[in-house]
Symmetry: C2
Subunit: 172 residues, 2 copies
Amino acid sequence: MARKKSRSKAAVRRVPMREFSRSLPMSLLRAREAVMRQFRPSLRDHGLTEQQWRILRALASVDTIEVTELARVAFLLGPSLSRILRDLESRHLIDRRVAKADLRRGMVSISPMGLQLIEAVAPSSEAIYADISRRYGARKLRELQDMLHALEGSLAGLRASGGAKMEAGELE
Amino acid sequence: MARKKSRSKAAVRRVPMREFSRSLPMSLLRAREAVMRQFRPSLRDHGLTEQQWRILRALASVDTIEVTELARVAFLLGPSLSRILRDLESRHLIDRRVAKADLRRGMVSISPMGLQLIEAVAPSSEAIYADISRRYGARKLRELQDMLHALEGSLAGLRASGGAKMEAGELE
DNA sequence: GAAATATGATTAACATGTTAAATGTATCGG
DNA sequence: CCGATACATTTAACATGTTAATCATATTTC
């Protein structure tokens, strides 16, 4: 256990940027990873990925939902959702049909097997969440969520300035 | 613009779980995505992904670094890092060699071209960050980062209870 | 000092993120 | 009614996340 961090003698090449580990995206990533690390083993035991679980949970709260709306609430991009729905359908965890009024739209609902799986996972998932809440503090947790939501709001529809490329339709 | 959200008439199947959109992982994911959405266009204009940018930034602050240490500071898993380093090396943005004292260890450093690229990207990146800080509030931003770090700390080394699978070596 | 074990890095295999293109269906304008 | 356009979804292509396995080198143990 000799040399650990040769930073003191390293010739640091200074580019004027924020200290890396303190950047906001990194902080959010690390926090989220710390949280997900708690849940993944349980989900894995039930053969589910995080995203598959998000979809099943979203489906469990409605009767039927359109694919586009499901993508919005589960916060997944269309292509990811397409692949996952294909998989979940092959495992008989969801049911699909097309909207008779508009053949472009796909309607998705959870299957009895899917509900059964949710009921099997929910207890440990809730226990983990309660554990996190207890350790971090329920009040702080609510505060944190409020601040995260506010951050989202601050950036909603915001276009980055200072050299970022404009999107099509923006005043170039 | 007729039907929008048929939630009122949807027969909700109640499984006792937290309201989906308010879960902590989702809040963190949405917040992070809102932030990254600001940066991605700029990075993209320079031919960089978010992870590649993280690596270059980490390299810019040191002279040389071991692969394992780089994975730690850039918060990437080994396999991802291996692939990205292979790519960055082929683009001559980094230099690699093996440690003469231990042939297993890889030493990585940024190349002159890599430094040049960083200097090209940094201004707009900083401007975007400043924009975010201004809109959300510099003080709130620091507060948020402190809370995120505290959350990380609360969960460090914590094993989820209540049904989560134990890891190898734990008392099963 | 050779076999067993540990360690650093990469490769493999599969799932998702991300953007662009393709496909099928609806709707609109004439 | 028909061609142009818009829309919902999927497919394609490539990059990364994630876990397990592999490979090469180091260290330990007998």
